[in-house]
Structures are given as structure tokens and as C-alpha cells.
């Protein structure tokens, strides 16, 4: 079951100072561990009767970028939804800052954690500013619908996402990259320490993918946010992740730094793909070169 061989086989990879090794698959996490903002304990997630995630344990380190990788249908999106309180666990507990998330109020959770689902759709005619302002929902009440604080945070969020100039444009008139930045601005306006993103780079071309990941990376670095996202591109995952979580058929296959997780064996087991792992000449992170039939000829 437990197959994270890297940890024992590659002792040459040093664990950086002050960094806590994330919890492994079959070790029970302790909710009091302060370095984990978000934790899953014996988490089982299911849609109707189809169990997607079974008895999963995972800790998300604070102030780092964690990327979930895995083949299509492996359950990584479901896992993210479970962590985000979008899906009620069949059994097990998700802890947010040590508290059972299902006992927290929806707005309390929304002030700590923002979630961007995969390719969200905005209603026709909604402007960027309208959308970003909705990020303030958890802070507003019937009487206080637009405080100076709301206004400031929305302006900041638009600024960070470089959407200020496009603020009064309807979303449906924007390009894919701009749309995605508008949504990012919305969850930035939500002003949470933790950001969960389900494939934020879907439908973006490579330059916009890199632009978006750079934006998130800078946010993480400057504001110490905890970011958890699902990415499909393994090489970009390795470059931008502090931690990788490889998910295989509803289980955590391996967690650790990209160097620890990204091995030829992992890619073979998780993605059913033969590959070579080389070093990214620019970032010194692992890169996966798929074998395929053509390269073997």
C-alpha cells in the first residue's frame, strides 16, 4: 500500500530547514500540528454510492504551494472539493486550523479559505467589478453591503490580478486568460489565507498558464498564502510546487517535494506512462519527458 520509496531511497535529497515533512498516507495526522492549516483524517468521499476517496490522510503545509497531480478520474478534484467543504464526507474529518470543518459556519470557512472550481461560468452581462465584489460576500451583511474595507480589498484584488483597466467590461467580452484573472481577483477579494484552485490553467495557452502561475507564486511568496491546486502539466507542477501530492485511484500515492515525488516509477504507476526524469535546465526542478511510441523508434 505504502509506496513512497523516494523518501527512503533518496536520502541525498535534503529536507529544507524548518520545513515539516507532510504527513504520509497511512500515518494518522494530528490536528494540533500548527504547520498544517488544512488536514484530512481518514477521509472518505463519495457521490451517491460511488466511493471516490477512501480513508485518506493528508496534511497541507501552511504558507506553501501544494499541487495535486494524478490521472484523469483519480479523485483529485473530489479530494479538493472535500477539503473545500463543498462535499460532505461519508466518513472521516477535514480539519481547518485544527477545527472540524463540518462544524464551522459556512461564512467562517469562507473567510479563511477560497476555492475556485474548474472553469466557472459567470452570468451573461456581469462585469469584472461585479464579479470581484462578490468575493466580499462572507464579510457583508444586509445593512453593510459595501463598506470602505470592501471597496479597498476589491481595488487591491483588481490591481494584483492586473484587471483594474478591464474592471467595467462584461466578463463574456474577455479572453480566456483575462476571464481567469478576473476569477482569481474574485477569490483574492475574499481575502483568505488559503486558496484552493481546481485546474486554474485549463483552456489557457502556455504563455497565459505561466503568467497565471507566476501571479499565484508571487502572491504566495509576498503574502504567505497557502495554495492548493490541481494542475495537469507535470513540469509546471514541479516548477511551482513546494509540495506535490500524487493521487492514484482515490489514495495518496506519494507526497513530498517535487524531487521526492517526481520519479519514473511514480509516473509509471500513477499515469501509466513510461518516461525519463531530467532536470529542468532553468529551475533545477524535475522534468518528465514522456516516452511514447514515437520516441522509442
Amino acid at each position: 500500500m505504502y509506496r513512497d520509496r523516494n523518501n527512503s531511497q533518496s536520502p541525498q535529497i535534503p529536507v529544507p530547514q524548518g520545513h515539516i515533512v507532510p504527513l504520509w498516507d497511512n500515518i494518522s495526522p494530528s490536528p494540533s500540528l500548527s504547520n498544517h492549516r488544512l488536514e484530512a483524517e481518514q477521509l472518505t468521499l463519495a457521490y451517491d454510492n460511488a466511493t471516490i476517496i477512501r480513508n485518506l490522510n493528508l496534511g497541507i503545509p501552511a504558507g506553501k504551494t501544494t499541487v495535486l497531480i494524478g490521472a484523469n478520474g483519480c479523485g483529485k478534484s473530489t479530494l479538493l472539493r472535500g477539503l473545500a467543504k463543498l462535499l460532505k464526507p461519508k466518513s472521516g474529518i477535514v480539519y481547518l486550523d485544527g477545527k472540524n470543518i463540518s462544524q464551522l459556519k459556512a461564512k467562517t470557512v469562507a473567510k479563511k479559505m477560497g476555492m475556485l472550481p474548474q472553469s466557472p461560468v459567470a452570468p451573461e452581462g456581469l462585469t469584472v467589478r461585479d464579479l470581484v465584489a462578490m468575493g466580499r460576500y462572507p464579510y457583508q451583511s444586509c445593512l453593510q453591503q459595501w463598506s470602505t474595507g470592501d471597496e479597498k480589498k476589491v481595488a487591491e484584488a483588481l490591481d494584483i490580478a492586473t484587471m483594474t483597466e478591464l474592471a467595467d467590461r462584461p466578463l463574456d467580452s474577455l479572453s480566456g486568460g483575462q476571464k481567469q484573472r478576473a476569477w482569481i481577483a474574485m477569490i483574492l477579494a475574499q481575502d483568505t489565507d488559503i486558496l484552493l484552485l481546481d485546474e486554474p490553467t485549463t483552456f489557457l495557452d502556455l504563455s497565459h498558464q505561466v503568467e497565471l502561475l507566476d501571479l499565484l507564486d508571487e502572491l504566495q511568496a509576498s503574502q504567505g498564502k497557502t495554495i492548493v491546486m490541481i494542475l495537469h502539466d507535470l513540469n509546471l507542477s514541479c516548477r511551482y510546487a513546494d509540495y506535490l501530492v500524487a493521487v492514484q485511484q482515490g489514495k495518496v500515492y506519494a507526497t513530498g517535494t517535487p524531487q521526492q515525488v517526481m520519479t519514473e516509477e511514480m509516473v509509471r504507476d500513477v499515469f501509466d506512462l513510461e518516461c525519463r526524469i531530467v532536470l529542468d535546465p532553468l529551475a533545477d526542478t524535475p522534468m518528465c519527458i514522456p516516452m511514447g511510441r514515437k520516441a522509442r523508434r
Binding site: R81, A84, K85, L86, K105, A106, K107, T108, V109, A110, K111, M113, G114, M115, L116, P117, P120, V121, A122, P123, E124, G125, L126, T127, R129, D130, L131, A133, M134, G135, Y137, P138, Q140, C142, L143, Q144, Q145, W146, S147, T148, D150, E151, A155, L158, T164, A167, D168, P170, Q190, L196
Partner: protein, 347 residues
């Protein structure tokens, strides 16, 4: 930065909100048009009264003819006020359903909610002809609620398929209409003829007692809708986003649906099946002030009220001395609009 927004944040009160800058102007224009249409509508008839006399009478000033007071205040004013309230109620109901289903085609009159309300009200009219008028909204509300719940159970499915919702809804519409036909076929002749006028969607002969029975419904649930606009905004972004913004979506959607059903039911109990107002008003509103519901909801409500007041006037003017029910006029404008939206939807 907020060129597009009007921000209201009085220093002395703990209140703050924002509106699209266009909202107050649009509301003012719509109000003026509505008032003018109402004055013309009140003046028009077998016994014409000049607009100036209409205004004088409404303001309680003396006029040349003492009969005006009776004709205006007792006969004609309740009719046009009923038309306005019905239109506003239907428009708010439509704005809510389009918002929570994220479906631009969803409107109570399309998906059978109105047909359910009609069936319940006709059943009451025919089986218990002596029922007080104030009970009619309750019956219509129950009928609308039952159809809404059936649609919710059979066709909602997370709002994934707009066309499925419409098709199932049209099915319910037809079933309810068929049952209504059976009621009118076997009912007693006098009550049936009364029900038939009402069925076509008309504010003909509406009296103060009917207006007074309608007002609390429109005021209470209209205010409720206004208080829930931010919830409507988040639900309009989809369940996942709404939930992660901290919306308790099942509870809020339930409350909004109930509000919509109450408004549609009470409006239909007063004027019968006035169709398509609930479909058109939110669309026109979005074109005028954008998709954010704080501004859209009141604008759509005014538009709906204006549409029915004007439709009622047109119904009397176009083929005078014959009178067409306002429901037929709204259908004549609304049905092609629905087809246009349907074609756009398929793209």
C-alpha cells in the same frame, strides 16, 4: 475607480451599499412612463376623461364632473394598480427563477408554475364558488408550489441542462392546462364563465378587494426578494462558487424559490395567466442595468409593472370597442421573444 457605481454610505447610519450608476435614472424613467400610461389608461374608456381631470381626481382636487371620482377611484384605478402589481410580481418571480437556475429561459410562466397556480385557483373557483377572494392567492400559491417541487425533483439536476428544465416544465404546463380544461368543462356554467375571463389573463373589472388581497403578497415577498439580492448574486455564479463564498445554498435557494412561487401565485390569483412578463422583464432589465441583482431586481419589477399596464391599455385601444385581455397582448410580444431567446440559447 468606481465610475460605474453609485456608492451609498451615509456617515451617520451603519449602512452601505452600491448600485450600478444607471439604476436610479432608469428607475425614474420607468416610473414616469408607468405613471403616464396609468393616467392614459384611467382616462380611456367608454366614458373618456381628460388626463388633467384624472390627475386632479387622483390628487383629490375638485373637478367639473362629480362622477369622475366614482369612475376613477372605484372602477378604473384598482384595475390599473392591479395590472402594475401583477406585472411587478411576475417580473420579480422571473428574475429570481432565472437567477437561481442560471437559465435565461426559466420563468414561472414557461415551466408550468403559472399553470399549476391557475389550475388550483380554477378548481377553487368552480368547486367552491362562494370562497372569499382573499383565499384565491393561497390556492394559487399552493398550486404553484406543487408544480415547482415536481420540477425541482424531476428536472433540476443541478441546473445542468437548461433545455431539459424547459421541456419538463412545458410538459407540466400542458398537464395542468388539460386538468384546468376538465374543470371548466364539468363546472357549473356561471362560475365557469367567470373563470374563463380570468383564465385569459385579464385585469378586467378588478376591484379594490382584489387589489388589497394582492398588496401584502407583493410587498412582503418583494421586500424579501430585495433582501436576498446578494444571495441571488452568489447563487447565480453556480453552486460551487456560491458555497465556497459562504452561501448556505440549499436554504437560500429554498427561500428564494418560495419567494418566487409566492409572487407568481399571488399575481396569477389576481389576473390569471399573464404570460411572458416574467421571462421578458429580467432580460430587458439586464440590458439596461447589468446582471447584478441589487439593481436588476427593482428595474425588472418596474419593467414588469409597466409592461402589464401598457398591455392592458393596448388591449383596450387596439381593437376598440372590443377588448383584448392583457395576457393576450403580453403573449403576442413575449412568445416571439421566447423563440428568439431559444434560438440564441442553442448557439
Amino acid at each position: 475607480m468606481t465610475k460605474q457605481w453609485l456608492i451609498i454610505r451615509p456617515k451617520v447610519l451603519p449602512i452601505s451599499f452600491h448600485l450600478d450608476r444607471r439604476v436610479p435614472v432608469i428607475l425614474l424613467i420607468l416610473t414616469l412612463v408607468t405613471i403616464v400610461a396609468m393616467i392614459i389608461s384611467i382616462g380611456y374608456g367608454e366614458y373618456p376623461i381628460s388626463p388633467i381631470d384624472v390627475v386632479k381626481t387622483l390628487l383629490g382636487l375638485p373637478t367639473a364632473n362629480d362622477d369622475y371620482t366614482f369612475i376613477i377611484n372605484t372602477l378604473r384605478l384598482p384595475r390599473t394598480i392591479a395590472a402594475f402589481l401583477v406585472g411587478a410580481g411576475l417580473a420579480i418571480a422571473g428574475t429570481i427563477t432565472q437567477g437561481i437556475t442560471r437559465n435565461p429561459l426559466a420563468a414561472p410562466s414557461i415551466v408550468g408554475v403559472n399553470a399549476g397556480a391557475t389550475l388550483a385557483a380554477v378548481t377553487l373557483l368552480i368547486l367552491l364558488p362562494n370562497t372569499p377572494i382573499s383565499l384565491l392567492p393561497f390556492a394559487a400559491f399552493v398550486g404553484a408550489l406543487i408544480v415547482s417541487l415536481l420540477i425541482y425533483l424531476l428536472a433540476w439536476q443541478g441546473g445542468s441542462s437548461p433545455v431539459r428544465l424547459i421541456l419538463v416544465g412545458i410538459g407540466f404546463s400542458l398537464i395542468a392546462d388539460a386538468l384546468t380544461d376538465i374543470m371548466t368543462t364539468f363546472g357549473e356554467i356561471n362560475t365557469v364563465s367567470q373563470a374563463l375571463v380570468w383564465l385569459a389573463g385579464s385585469v378586467y373589472g378588478r376591484s379594490w378587494s382584489q387589489v388589497l388581497a394582492l398588496i401584502p403578497w407583493i410587498v412582503i415577498f418583494g421586500l424579501m426578494a430585495l433582501l436576498l439580492t446578494r444571495e441571488l448574486n452568489t447563487l447565480n455564479l453556480g453552486d460551487e462558487v456560491a458555497r465556497s463564498l459562504g452561501s448556505r445554498i440549499e436554504w437560500q435557494r429554498g427561500l428564494l424559490l418560495l419567494t418566487s412561487v409566492a409572487l407568481a401565485g399571488a399575481s396569477i390569483a389576481t389576473a390569471g395567466a399573464v404570460g411572458f412578463v416574467d421571462l421578458m422583464s429580467p432580460h430587458l432589465g439586464r440590458k439596461l442595468v447589468g446582471a447584478s441583482h441589487e439593481g436588476l431586481l427593482p428595474v425588472a419589477a418596474m419593467l414588469g409593472g409597466m409592461l402589464v399596464v401598457v398591455a392592458d391599455l393596448l388591449g383596450r385601444v387596439l381593437f376598440a370597442p372590443n377588448e383584448l385581455p392583457c395576457g393576450i397582448i403580453t403573449a403576442a410580444i413575449g412568445a416571439p421573444y421566447f423563440v428568439y431567446l431559444l434560438i440564441n440559447q442553442q448557439k
